[in-house]
């Protein structure tokens, strides 16, 4: 282990602060120690100074111009101090009674603090100006994900160079053998088109414009903040947390003021209201008996309004959306405001508008699945079936199969015995079939939940399905897009996506 730690060595502090996802909690805590050491004078803690600075940081984060300026000139001048102030400010926000039961990803003020942190870090990094550090960061940003051949043995980024033949500015040099699509950078696209490829090739290397490094690093820093915050939260004792919430007032007061003055948008990060409306409408249309209205058909606002009126959802947020729709006219206005939604089409019909809501297909051919047998229409599943005539399944085959079946709507409410019997019926066609073994294996897969939740079905990117994939470009289907999985599954995906990225 290197003797220099972030506590005393500035260069190491920068490395840990810029790449915390690559370091363990020990190093990160040493970075925090560096930050806290700024608040010790003559061997004495200076808690008031710390409190002042974190209140200053937290309240400044709520101002858009301060956040923007920090990208040009650092608001805080040391990486240790920056991570301490940003994480403590976030902890103060999370401790506000208003957010007691709120998921952090819904809290706008946390995003503001993170933005100030990310911008501040970007300008610190630029001021520190150590090319070696930039190259280390590029190694991480452009490394390809795990593949069958293991990690690339050499350096991912072999240099940051001027390449006059490609135009002005610096370029990151990445050997082809280390390259991934991550390295292909396009100019800002015109509407609906892919922008020109800015990455160039020479001598078996890719040259990526350094501007892309900045963009990718900002994304990284957002994820990094999540880790720093977690480490800080785990690091603070109950006493320290109590001290913080007892003494901090500026951030709390600022949030209270937003609430009092009705600035809800500054506090809450709402998800797209249009998306919610379309989802609820889709559910309401599906719920209407006798197919008076249906998905994929044009209907008047009045017909759709009647569907909404008749719809009685369980979820609170769905009821809220329904309650906001008070008349055909209000529904028409709401839909008109969402005319760019990918699943909504508005057509003039005489003097009135007609609206078409479509299934949330993901641009792929849907597949009716009446029996498990129908899954074999997917080319990958057909390939798997073919292979199973020759070889016993590896566990992952069973796993992929069982998970897909678990989520089929017709089995959502079935008892396990029915599912097992139906699956055994399928498996019995293969030569290796042994009733007892298959029975045990299926039951095992079904008992194998993740914290009580059914695991998500495999998607097309899953390595195990890739073994059977005919190539996405060739295939008219996609597993998640074509199969009639229930909305709950897509909700789970949305949640997984959101919690994976934010805080």
């Amino acid at each position: 282990m290197s003797r220099s730690t972030p506590v005393e060595d500035e260069s190491t502090a920068y490395r840990v602060a810029t790449l915390p996802l690559e370091y363990g909690t020990t190093r990160i805590n040493q970075l925090f120690t560096r930050g806290y050491n700024r608040y010790i004078a003559d061997g004495e803690d200076q808690p008031d100074d710390l409190l002042n600075d974190l209140e200053r940081f937290g309240t400044a984060a709520f101002k858009e111009d301060v956040r923007a300026n920090a990208a040009e000139e650092p608001f805080v001048d040391d990486p240790g101090t920056l991570v301490v102030l940003a994480t403590l400010s976030a902890i103060c926000v999370k401790a506000h009674p208003k957010f007691e039961h709120a998921p952090p990803r819904k809290v706008q003020v946390l995003y503001d603090i993170r933005e100030l942190y990310v911008n501040n870090l970007a300008s610190l990094l630029r001021e520190f100006g150590d090319g070696g550090l930039q190259q280390d960061i590029a190694e991480v940003l452009y490394a390809k994900g795990p593949g069958e051949d293991g990690p690339h043995p050499g350096r991912v980024c072999t240099g940051i160079k001027e390449m006059p033949e490609f135009g002005e500015g610096l370029y990151l040099e990445i050997p082809m053998a280390a390259a991934s699509r991550n390295c292909l950078v396009h100019a800002d696209p015109e509407l609906g088109e892919t922008g020109e490829l800015l990455t160039r090739i020479k001598d078996n290397c890719l040259y990526v414009p350094v501007g892309d490094f900045d963009t990718k690093y900002r994304e990284y820093a957002r994820r990094a903040f999540k880790k720093l915050l977690r480490v800080q939260e785990e690091n603070l004792s109950e006493d320290q947390l109590t001290w913080l919430s007892t003494n901090e007032s500026a951030i709390t007061e600022r949030i209270d003021r937003f609430i009092e003055t009705g600035h809800h948008e500054r506090i809450w990060r709402d998800w797209n209201p249009g998306e919610r409306t379309i989802r609820v409408l889709r559910d309401a249309i599906r719920d209407v008996p006798d197919e008076v209205v249906s998905l994929g058909e044009f209907h008047s606002a009045k017909e759709l309004f009647e569907a909404v009126e008749a719809y009685d959802p369980e979820a609170d947020w769905k009821r809220d959306v329904c309650n906001r729709i008070s008349s055909p006219r209000s529904l028409g206005n709401l839909l008109a405001s969402q005319r760019d939604h990918r699943n909504l089409t508005i057509r003039q019909h005489g003097n009135t508008n007609h609206y078409r809501i479509q299934e949330s297909s993901r641009g792929v051919q849907p597949l009716d699945v009446e029996s498990i047998e129908d899954l074999f229409e997917l080319p990958c599943m057909a390939n798997m079936a073919e292979r199973l005539y020759e070889k016993k399944p590896v566990r992952k085959d069973l796993y992929s199969f069982a998970r897909m079946v678990m989520w089929l709507p017709q089995y959502q409410d079935s008892d396990l015995e029915t599912i097992v019997a139906d699956l055994k019926d399928i498996f019995s066609r293969w030569p290796w079939y042994d009733e007892q073994v298959t029975d045990y294996q299926i039951r095992y897969e079904f008992s194998n939940t993740i914290g009580g939740d059914t695991p998500l079905p495999m998607n097309c990117d899953n390595d195990d399905m890739q073994r059977y994939c005919i190539g996405k470009e060739q295939c008219p289907y996609s597993i998640w897009g074509s199969l009639p999985f229930p909305d709950e599954m897509y909700d789970r995906l949305d949640e997984a996506g959101a919690t994976g990225e934010e805080f």
Partner: protein, 294 residues
């Protein structure tokens, strides 16, 4: 010469008489034990020994048996002659031997000895990094050409209608979904890709192979700088398509589990030898087997 499908007898004759004479010409990585698999496609599905298992029109055979950790234990073919015997009479020389899943012995059936309509080898290779192959198909070129020239009222999802409207089905070779000019264009693209490999990717060892209905371009350098894995190959695909505007088949390029037509094997649909070529002036008609030229 005619552009037509080879008969069963012609295929047997080719592999019996002419193909062995090219054995010394085969690329050095084509050996009995190098590619992870050899594969054959048949014109007619052929039964396997076990009852209730569907007839097969495509079989893959591993060149090695492996233990549970994937290490090689026993070689399937000792010499390339064994591969040749398998190609000539697959059912009689099936490496699966007496396994239930081997092809059924034609002597015990009313069916003919199955005939290899196409012979393939796996791009995945035991001794060297996975072979890089870029596939350029005359069918794709023809389809793009048709889409560019035909007016929009032809339903573009129907390939035949499109090709018909563009006159491609009627152009020589008649009835095929491309014209000779599309094959010639594919060959030109093939040499462009070879130049790109050499100029921009520093490749030393390359090969262009006429595949019967297009070309395969190989990058065969084995040093680590050219050890492109699936992710690097995706980049290569994008560069070839976007930057150099070459109409390649990106799926084949990035997928190591693919099989490629064996050089010097017969493309039976067009009676052509899959032939390594040196120049874009290559005349496709010269790839007709000598034994079939009488």
């Amino acid at each position: 010469m005619s552009w037509r499908q080879a008969t069963r007898e012609e295929i047997y004759r080719y592999y019996d008489e002419e193909f062995p004479s090219y054995r010394d010409e085969l690329p050095s990585f084509i050996t009995a034990k190098g590619p992870k698999q050899y594969a054959l496609a048949f014109r007619e599905p052929h039964p396997v020994r076990k009852d209730g298992v569907p007839d097969k029109d495509f079989i893959r055979r591993d060149t090695w048996q492996t233990n549970t950790s994937g290490e090689r234990t026993t070689a399937t073919f000792q010499e390339f002659d064994d591969v040749l015997e398998f190609i000539r009479h697959p059912a009689r020389n099936d490496p699966l031997g007496r396994s239930n899943f081997a092809l059924a012995d034609p002597d015990l059936l009313d069916k003919l000895d199955p005939c290899p309509d196409a012979v393939y080898y796996a791009l995945d290779h035991w001794e060297r990094p996975w072979v890089l192959l870029v596939d350029i198909d005359a069918k794709d070129i023809a389809r793009n050409r048709a889409a560019d020239t035909v007016s929009e009222d032809v339903d573009d999802r129907d390939d035949d209608a499109l090709l018909n409207a563009a006159g491609i089905l009627d152009a020589a070779p008649e009835g095929y979904p491309y014209a000779f000019e599309d094959i010639e264009r594919a060959i030109e693209y093939g040499f462009e890709v070879r130049d790109i490999f050499e100029d921009d990717f520093n490749a030393q060892e390359t090969m262009v192979v006429y595949s019967g209905q297009g070309v395969h371009v190989y990058l065969l350098d084995t040093d680590p700088a050219h050890r492109y894995d699936a992710k690097s190959r995706e980049v290569l695909n994008d560069l070839l398509q976007d930057t150099y505007e070459i109409p390649i088949d990106p799926v084949v390029t990035a997928d190591r589990r693919r099989v490629a037509r064996l050089p010097y094997s017969l493309h039976a649909d067009v009676c052509s030898i899959v032939l390594p070529i040196e120049s874009q002036t290559f005349d496709v008609r010269s790839a007709t087997p000598e034994v079939l030229q009488s």
